[in-house]
Amino acid sequence: MRYLSKRKYAVIFLMASFLFPLTSHAESISAERQATLKHLLIQDCGSCHGLRMKGGLGPALTPGDIADKPKEGLVATIIHGRPGTAMPPWAALLTDQEATWLIDQLLQGVSP
């Protein structure tokens, strides 16, 4: 357990040093909110897209699957959902900026 939490710190440190300057949106999403969003992505999006984003009821969302799709479209899918499919609209729970942040995470690859 010790080891894992050390590893987590390392990950957070890495994120802090590399990701923050790259993602313009991150500045205004608090670190606490980011942790909540990351958790939501893996656990709740993961319940349809797979904990490792390799797909399930929803399609796979690994970097290879979404890298060449227009980002605005992906963000819009999160916010508005896709009517007639199981993809729900998240507008009540997420802002556009947060949805963009989630897509950035997916583009970098997430793992539980």
Binding site: H39, L40, A86, P88
Partner: protein
């Protein structure tokens, strides 16, 4: 009641078991054992509900998001179906993996046949059903699902259950079908498959009523449920509860509800209202809705205590910290409890005096008394999800 877990690296490749108590030298039964899925780490905890403790951790089961479990009829082996297409046979007595195969790319659940000799798995990717021998996990039959309209791939398969007469039933999510896969003719090389088409859009999960007669599929793409009467299959699939489903002004569905554990008490079935903060009560004589019970969130599991006197309900995000208990007679919520964030699953002890609740974000499995509705014990578990006790071995349609 807390036991100290021995800590092993969670990422160890070895398929090892880490005994939390010493392996029993005395012969023992398995009727009070079960498994808890540690979904992120890919482990299962072997638990024992006589003393409310974890007795071993078995590692190396792969991606266990959305894992489900069935048991051999001697209640010694647990078959764990993983998201990554893994099928793992775990020996509860030796506390280790007996056999593990990767049988598909992406699967959601399986079933064990009436005679206990066959294990069937429903796969998303590649869409279809695979059947294995229960003892050695050798492939017996591979039945691809119907191709989707553009021919690019086969339909995903959901809602796998076993049914009397050596049958398995499944639903095809993308092509809207229900299949009966019949192994009753043991002389034949292959099973017979009866296909019911146009049953409705996007069946996402199914259940078999406890006596094994009605197979009912929830439809995501439209209102109502698709029902097949296995006593009269020639009558085909009928639609019941036309108002059921997403209905008017449904809320976004953040998590698909499960139909497993439908309760039939007093000719009343209790089912999750899709996209509503409601549990619906259905009269099983007429298959009409008789009541809607208001809840704190969108129900995921709606499960009856074995005596059917209480119905326990957990919820989708963002209300997944709560569990509510319904009195099956008055059909009112008698208590709302808050086990903690991320309540994912519940399992009653065989005769229902306790319920075990997995609380993912607290890394806990909690044991509650169903009479006093008090929290009794806590077990540590790493991101626990499904809880499965061995008495499932002798229930039809799981």
């Amino acid at each position: 009641m807390r036991k100290r877990l021995c800590i092993t690296p969670l990422f160890a490749l070895a398929l090892s078991a880490c005994s939390l108590t010493s392996v029993q030298e005395e012969p023992r039964g398995t009727g009070d054992l079960g498994v808890v899925i540690e979904r992120a780490a890919g482990n299962v905890l072997i638990v024992e509900h006589t003393n409310n403790q974890a007795i071993a951790r078995v590692e190396g089961l792969g991606d266990l998001s959305h894992a489900s479990v069935v048991f051999s009829r001697d209640e010694r082996y647990a078959y764990v179906f993983g998201r990554d297409g893994g099928l793992t046979k775990v020996d509860l007595l030796k506390q280790r993996i007996d056999k593990r195969i990767i049988q598909g790319g992406n699967s959601i659940g399986g079933a064990i046949s009436q005679d206990g000799r066959l294990i069937a798995v429903g796969n998303y990717e590649p869409g279809g059903v695979k059947i294995f021998t229960a003892d050695t996990l050798e492939l017996v039959a591979d039945i691809p699902a119907t191709a989707i309209a553009d021919g690019s791939k086969n339909s995903r398969v959901v809602g796998m259950v076993d049914a009397p007469g050596q049958k398995f039933l499944v639903s095809l999510f993308d092509t809207g079908e229900i299949w009966i896969i019949d192994f009753s003719d043991s002389a034949a090389d292959a099973p017979t498959v009866s296909r019911f088409t146009d049953i409705g859009k996007q069946p996402y999960d199914s259940m078999l009523t406890p006596e094994g007669r009605y197979y009912i599929a929830g439809l995501f793409g439209e209102d109502g449920l698709a029902m097949l009467d296995l006593w009269n299959p020639e009558q085909g699939v009928t639609r019941i509860l036309d108002g059921y489903g997403k209905g008017n002004q449904a809320l976004p569905v953040y998590k698909m509800p499960h139909l497993e554990g439908w309760t039939v008490a007093d000719n009343q079935a209790f089912v999750p209202g899709v996209g509503h903060h409601q549990v619906l009560v259905i009269d099983t004589q007429t298959w009409q809705q008789s009541k809607a019970i208001e809840m704190v969130g969108q129900p995921v599991f709606v499960m009856a205590r074995p005596d059917a006197r209480q119905i326990w309900v957990n919820f989708a995000y963002p209300d997944n910290q709560y569990v509510q208990v319904i009195d099956s007679q008055t059909k009112e919520v008698i208590k709302t409890i808050e086990p903690g964030p991320g309540v994912l699953h519940m399992e009653f002890t065989p005769r229902g005096e306790h319920i075990w609740i997995s609380v993912r974000d607290r890394n806990e499995v909690q044991v509650w008394d169903t009479q006093t509705l008090e929290h009794l014990y806590t077990l540590e578990a790493d991101n626990p999800s499904g809880i499965f006790f061995t008495n499932r071995a002798h229930r039809i349609g799981l």
